[in-house]
Amino acid sequence: MSEAIEPVAASAVVNAESRVDAKQMNMIQAINSAMDVMMDRDPDVVVMGEDVGYFGGVFRATAGLQQKYGKNRVFDTPITECGIIGVAVGMGAYGLRPVPEIQFADYIYPALDQLVSEAARLRYRSAGEFISPLTVRSPFGGGIFGGQTHSQSPEGIFTHVSGVKTVIPSTPYDAKGLLIAAIEDNDPVIFFEPKRIYNGPFDGHYDTPAKSWAGHPEAQVPQGYYRIPLGKARIARAGEALTILCYGTMVHVVENTVAATGVDAEILDLRTLVPLDIEAIETSVKKTGRCLIVHEATRTSGFGAELLSQVQERCFYHLEAPIERVTGFDTPYPHSLEWAYFPGPVRIREAITKIMKD
């Protein structure tokens, strides 16, 4: 395996320019490219899921793969999520490296038993005799008027399960590098793709025209192989006044809100929730003395609660203000009131003001 490319730091533009063989890609193309590269390198990689074969997936993330690698390696499945994951565990036991797609994260629940009791536990219960090297890809998150069954952010359910890693990219460049690392990883990885930013970054202002990835430095994606190690956060914006911990779509909403408020915030894009880059978090919060946590998922027992505990345990004597959380409300995801629900710029700005006041 070739050497890893280290994650890009704050000065993304410089790094983007130095990226070899780079091409403008949106997040779907980057994800597609990651699978393409891995299928080419490793004959054990197989892609499966509802509508992923001939059609190339309802979001087109697997477009062209069946044509290129054949139906033995890229195939449609019956509509049974528990079946898809169960079969993937069995293929993994044989020695393949399955990359199953769950069409929407909201439909992952029928697969929970196979994920929680099987994929996540196989290495432990067999003392390493069997492993589950799956990468479960699934679009997640709201902002597309998808109602309660096309909008959820269930990452906290998986971070609570021992034995499974949880990865969430926020840019095309990261999506490809992280997906490659996830596929190469010998443990089960839940790879949640923020579908709101598949086609362009989202600043949180739903009433302004949608942007594309064109021109965004992180949309310059090398066409070949590179990996971004799991467990390493990215500094999306360096700053001194406060640390904001976020991931996925919310990275862009936070970046934009920070720019609008003018506060010198350091924005950490966590990229991997488990294992967590605790070093990056600790370094940043000890430097700034203030911490805001932002996620779209519901609040109670959400991943923000874990982050808050970690920061409190490790950085308590450096804190100058209570840690704040901006999260989705503890309700199912609504349809017509989507933008009242979505933790957008209004709520993030309020929280920043509150933290900076103390």
Binding site: I79, H150, D330, T331, P332, H335, S336, V346
Partner: protein, 431 residues
């Protein structure tokens, strides 16, 4: 632990002169650009299927799961043992409900294209499945539908303005804008809240039926899912419970050949029929021409009478075709032959019933055209009425604080706190 080994330590299968295994991955008969081919369908003549007694044991009627119950023949005559011999008023009601469903679908699909809502799903070509069923059931029998049985609400005379309010997610929506368009709930119409998660309604319908039986009630339950959805575990749990408890339930599989881009082969249709799923569970199974509303009606009546007489569950496969895309988010020309819907051998359910009514001397082309015009106007007027309550994304929605209602019966402290926080923040932001 080691596997079986030969004396030289090599795996048992290695070195043996065995042919390599092969993975079978289903492939539909035609893809875009190819000509459609339905010659592999075995379509029995109308009237050729026997009609078992409603009290028949499942084991005595297994062949019904492989045949195809058909009543309307090529000339529009109703023939055979399954002919329900419906009076003219009922035939014309069926025709009107099917035409109204189609007009409603056309209008709401257009509304989505005009940006008035986020999503829509048509049932074009499958209207007979819902309308035939709704007329065969009693009004107080409980329905657990999927998202493509809007025809049940229409045939139960549910106000279409109410349905449109739900689609527009506006302030007139009884469901408070919570659900994606077409995910109706209408308790007073015996229509269970539709879930976005496939096939969850199946065991629920069985549970409702078991409760009805346990209470000595007389009402039965019916449920629907697509052929693709039969792969979900819930389908199989439902069949097991229905069989074990002989639940008074009718389980309908709407085989419209496609599940988004996946043809029915990915749910097992290359090897057997969906009706034949019943056999392994010891349930009565019927397979019906789903584009023949009289056949659908007759099969549903058979199953309903059976359930009401404590004869237990029936699984019915409705063989039909999804003429349009899966939803407004779908473009079927990317994965199936464009010829399919025109070459579909079982015709159009509305045209077939119309032909029958004309043959019966109770209908004609002029009346049909007048009815279509009247229904189009009716739907247009209803849409205008509904739009007075607002369209999606244009302010006329339920008040923001309602976001927190109905999570629980009583709102716990944390939701009250979040509700207040939301209102304060939006006020502070001047919104």
């Amino acid at each position: 632990m080691t596997g079986p080994e030969d004396s030289d330590g090599a795996p048992a299968s290695a070195g043996r002169n065995l042919p390599p295994l092969r993975l079978h991955v289903p492939e539909p008969p035609a893809r875009p650009g190819e000509s459609a081919d339905f010659t592999h369908f075995d379509i029995p003549a109308a009237g050729s299927q026997p009609r078992p007694d409603e009290a028949a044991q499942p084991a005595e009627m297994r062949e019904m799961a492989y045949g195809l119950i058909r009543v309307l023949d090529e000339d529009g005559r109703a023939v055979g043992a399954w002919n329900p011999k419906l009076p003219p008023e009922t035939l014309l009601r069926m025709l009107r409900y099917m035409a109204l469903t189609r007009a409603f679908d056309a209008r709401m699909f257009r509304a989505q294209r005009q940006g008035k809502t986020s999503f829509y799903m048509k049932s074009t070509g499958e209207e007979a499945v819902s309308i035939g069923a709704a007329l065969a059931l009693a009004r107080d029998d409980m329905c657990f539908p999927s998202y493509r049985q809007q025809g049940i609400l229409i045939a139960r005379d549910w106000p279409i303005v109410d349905m449109m309010n739900q689609i527009y997610s506006n302030k007139g929506d009884r469901l408070k804008g919570r659900q994606l368009p077409i995910m109706y709930s209408a308790r007073d119409a015996g229509f269970f809240s539709i879930s976005g998660n496939l096939t969850t309604q199946y065991p629920q319908a069985v549970g409702w039926a078991m409760a009805s039986a346990a209470r000595g009630d007389t009402r039965i339950a019916a449920t629907w899912c697509g052929e693709g959805s039969t792969a979900e575990g819930d389908f199989h749990s439902a069949c097991t419970f229905a069989s074990v408890y002989r639940a008074p339930v009718i389980m309908n599989v709407v085989n419209n050949q496609w599940a988004i881009s996946s043809f029915s082969g990915f749910a097992g249709a290359e090897s057997t029929t969906f009706a034949a799923r019943a056999i392994g569970y010891g349930i009565a199974g019927l397979r019906v021409d789903g584009n023949d509303v009289l056949a659908v009606y007759a099969a549903m009546r058979w199953a309903a009478d059976r359930a009401r007489a404590n004869g237990g569950p029936t699984l019915i496969e409705h063989f039909t075709y999804r003429v349009e895309g899966h939803s407004t988010s779908d473009d079927p020309s990317a994965y199936r032959s464009a010829e399919e819907s025109t070459l579909w051998p079982l015709g159009d359910p509305i045209a077939r019933l119309k032909q029958h009514c004309i043959a019966q001397g109770i209908w004609d082309d002029e009346r049909h055209a007048a009815m279509d015009r009247e229904l189009a106007e009716m739907v247009r007027d209803a849409a205008r009425e509904a739009e007075k309550n607002g369209i999606l994304g244009h302010g006329l929605h339920h008040p923001m604080e309602t976001l927190f209602e109905d999570v629980f019966e009583d709102m716990p402290w944390h939701l009250k706190e979040q509700q207040q926080q939301m209102l304060d923040e939006w006020k502070a932001a001047g919104l």
